[in-house]
């Protein structure tokens, strides 16, 4: 385009490269999860994701049933109304999380490397 300079091209190309690199740096998903952290109102429980198991965690409304399988974890049942936690489904990558806000329970997959300190929505 008329009036543009070589330096403009350098800036634009460099900017595009930096922005593209950001996807690699900030959006590479977590690796495999090693264990799940389940936070309730007053406690934090840690479950290794190495076998099949079902646990009930006490929340404000009642027990939430959390299903653990090799490498993944999910809410299997919860006494809340919306069931958003159930619809979140299986969480398997490090950093992934699901939450049952009415019951004040969150679960989070933790891998070898922590991707996020915490996540909120």
């Amino acid at each position: 385009m008329k009036g543009m300079t070589p330096a403009d091209a350098v800036v634009i190309i460099a900017a595009a490269v930096v922005v593209a690199a950001c996807y690699g740096v900030f959006w590479t998903g977590g690796g495999a999860g090693e264990y799940a952290l389940v936070h309730s109102d007053d406690a934090v429980a840690r479950f290794a994701l190495d076998g099949e198991r079902v646990v009930a965690v006490a929340g404000r409304l009642g027990p939430s049933v959390i299903e653990i399988a090799p490498g993944r974890v999910r809410f299997a049942a919860s006494p809340c109304r919306g069931k958003i936690c159930l619809h979140a489904g299986w969480q398997s990558t490090a950093g992934a999380a699901a939450a049952c806000l009415p019951n004040r329970i969150t679960l989070e997959v933790v891998g070898a490397e922590r991707v996020y300190d915490s996540i909120n929505f």
């Binding site: 300079t5 800036v11 634009i12 900017a15």
Partner: protein, 182 residues
Amino acid sequence: MSHPKHGSQPVAVFPGEHDRLIAGFAGLAIAIHLLEAAFPSPLPGVKPGLANVVTLVVALRYGWAAAAWVSGLRVLAGSLLLGSFLSPTFFLSACGAAAALLALGAGLRVPGRGLSAVGLGVLASLAHMTAQIVAARYVFVGHAAVFALVPPLLTAALAFGLVSGLIAHAVLGILGASGRRA
């Protein structure tokens, strides 16, 4: 701006031609800022930032200091008119504007044929967005999840920086050759 040479003597201050120029451009930038605030954004934190077209045009025609005045007045008066003065929004806006001005200052010093409005627009836009994300992370949010928003926000900043730059470039073409560069 007119300043008294010695602080002790009372000096009548009249707006000069340059002051009127800055006020005019700031008014234009504020109007664009307000209009843009009236449109809903598809993604929180993303807006075209067309007021920066004015900053770019002023920077290339009248220099960095004039652009800093226009940008600063726009952030201040814009926030007063939108009711966000001294709110987090205002703070983020000010951080973004300050970073964009720094980038603009650096961009204007590029030797040789230098940068046109397009390159300057991209530089300023990315600096603006980066400063806002960093400020949001360390001042308001307090955890690193904010950085998950970096890729889409910077992509938007790049796109809108290019667009504002191209618009400013076209405007400069219509206004005639800038006073600073051939």
